[in-house]
């Protein structure tokens, strides 16, 4: 397997990974998550069998770290019920919104929708790559993005 130097991955995709984390876990935790994601990636890298889509691979690792961080934070207040029945304004702990209230609202979405929306909009992945990062089918990736956005629209409606 001919893998490019890891620095090349960082140069090409580090920015997208970091932005994804700033949006999904907040600027305060993004740096730590970024380091965790890169360390995990470095550990796994030499054994990687498929180097076709390293951007999606890195973001897959990053989104796991984002989920860990989100869950750790959610453990602080009462556990939040699984999302479908949750309405607008449900809380999952204090998250500093980095000057962009929209991220705070996306963070309130159910996990799959949340990650799908962030990967699609912030990391700018194709639906096929969102699917790779989330280990689901491209259809499910598309559905999660659309349902997430639909919910955000509904919550915004006056």
């Amino acid at each position: 397997m001919n893998l490019p130097p890891f620095q090349t991955l960082l140069d090409l995709h580090g920015g997208a990974v970091h932005r994804f984390l700033v949006a999904s876990v907040g600027a305060g935790e993004a740096d730590d998550c970024f380091q965790e994601a890169c360390i995990s990636a470095l550990r796994a890298y030499p054994g990687l069998e498929n180097a076709d889509n390293l951007r999606a691979w890195l973001l897959k690792i990053a989104q796991r770290k984002a989920i860990d961080a989100h869950r750790a934070r959610a453990r602080r207040p009462l556990p939040v019920a699984e999302p479908p029945e949750r309405g607008a304004g449900g809380g999952s702990g204090p998250v500093e919104s980095n000057g962009q209230p929209i991220w705070a609202r996306v963070r309130e979405l159910p996990e799959k929708q949340r990650m799908a929306v962030f990967l699609r909009s912030v990391a700018d992945l194709s639906y096929a790559d969102v699917a790779r990062a989330l280990d689901c089918s491209p259809d499910a990736a598309r559905r999660n993005v659309h349902e997430g956005l639909k919910r955000l629209r509904e919550e915004m409606a006056p």
């Binding site: 130097p5 890891f6 620095q7 090349t8 960082l10 932005r19 700033v22 380091q35 962009q100 956005l149």
Partner: protein, 202 residues
């Protein structure tokens, strides 16, 4: 455009400048090194011969490349031959950078940083090891180096071995010249060989 889409687009464009800070990347290098995950560190180092690419493993200096060799190519080769865990980590190369500075100022006559010979093998490695023993300011002929590598008649092969030197300057292949006083060749260009020999004659 729907409100939410517009808000998302605007928020995303607000992020596009962002990326990990230099501090975050430095902390990553430190942690990677501590956990044994920084197999290969590299940096670009200024020198009178142009910016040099300097590459080290945990064992020592493994590659030094002149600017004509594209960085991508140097790193891709190393990723393949040594490990793909390659990171730009200038702070890890500070000791060799200091030695190179002193050498080019004429203040250092012998490099002390350890060398990792991983990129060399067989007879070529013996030729380069023999070359590493030539003292500052001295020269040897290709024949002498071949002999000192154990094969007095393999003069041409010795020349090829020197041409493949992954560590020019530090492994001083510029100190090997033709019998009769000709300079012979040099991977980095004959002007550089002249420059280095003149530097060492000062």
């Amino acid at each position: 455009m729907n409100g939410i889409d517009r808000e998302l687009t605007e928020a995303v464009s607000g992020l596009t400048q962002g990326g990990p800070s230099a501090e975050v990347l430095r902390a990553l290098n430190t942690r990677a090194a501590k956990e044994g995950l920084l197999d290969v560190a590299y940096a670009q180092v200024d020198s009178p011969l142009g910016p040099l690419t300097v590459v080290a493993t945990e064992r020592g200096l493994v590659r030094l490349a002149y600017p004509e060799r594209p960085l991508d190519q140097v790193l891709t080769d190393i990723a393949e031959e040594i490990s793909p865990r390659v990171l730009e980590a200038p702070e890890r190369l500070d000791p060799i950078r200091r030695e190179l500075d002193e050498y080019f100022e004429g203040r250092l006559r012998r490099f002390n940083e350890p060398v990792d010979w991983s990129l060399t093998r067989g007879f070529f490695r013996r030729v380069l090891e023999a070359t590493a023993r030539i003292a500052y300011g001295e020269v040897r002929t290709y024949g002498e180096v071949a002999a000192s590598a154990g094969s007095p008649r393999a003069v041409r092969a010795a020349g090829n071995g020197l041409g493949s030197n992954p560590l020019p300057v530090v492994v001083p292949c510029h100190r090997v010249v033709r019998t009769g006083g000709g300079l012979g060749g040099y991977t980095g260009g004959i002007e550089r060989k002249e420059f280095l020999l003149a530097l060492e004659r000062r």
